[in-house]
Symmetry: C2
Subunit: 101 residues, 2 copies
DNA sequence: TCTACAGTTTGAAAAATATCGAACTTAAAA
DNA sequence: TTTTAAGTTCGATATTTTTCAAACTGTAGA
């Protein structure tokens, strides 16, 4: 099993978070999770992207500190890291929620 | 004289704003303006970038709706569009201010 | 008018990013 | 144990972005 690393709240940078959210696919995923709580890959409402591309976007969101996985069997459920984000970037999740999805 | 367009608050997108802030040079400029109010190009504390590159970054910030120019003689003074940003993305400027510069 | 200055635009090269298919991993089901 | 399903990793390609120098624009001062 792969050990996957999530940055501590103090290690996240606003620049990396913004870069992660600066792509329309990743913004969609983040907003989707902000609204729905938890989803696996097939639950993101992004159209006709290969699974390798989707996996790439998820990795960027994860490495920026925005999302965390919960692995259950063969499924990977993702959710926003609400606690860390509220601590490190208060107001950020509200910005995601305010946008229409 | 060139007519330059700023997007209305309602036309700004969070994705474009995040993409604009997702580059370290532009994040620096935005934070600089958030703290200092108004500066011209030579006032941004970015190291050894050609003026054409700096101009390019300013354009991206402007087109995303983040900054506005005030042209006075040969100088272009830039500032954050605080009213529009507070209306369209409440909490965003606080995020910029919260980061160390 | 001529020159210097602050900044933009253009065109090109280099670097980074997005995308895909194929191969791989892991876990559940047959 | 074999197969299937969910997702990641790898390698390659196409697109985008960053960057610079050179040319240009508009303003102020000599």
């Amino acid at each position: 099993m792969k050990k996957l690393t999530l940055p501590a709240a103090s290690d996240m940078t606003l620049t990396a978070v913004c870069a992660a959210l600066g792509d329309p696919v990743r913004m969609k995923i983040a907003q989707c999770l902000a609204h729905s709580g938890e989803k696996n890959c097939s639950g993101f409402e992004v159209d006709h992207l290969s699974k390798s591309t989707l996996s790439h976007h998820i990795k960027i969101l994860r490495e920026a500190g925005l999302i965390q996985p919960r692995i259950q069997g063969k499924e990977h459920f993702y959710s926003l890291r609400t606690e860390e984000l509220d601590q490190r970037f208060p107001g950020l999740i509200a910005l995601l929620l305010a946008e229409e999805v």
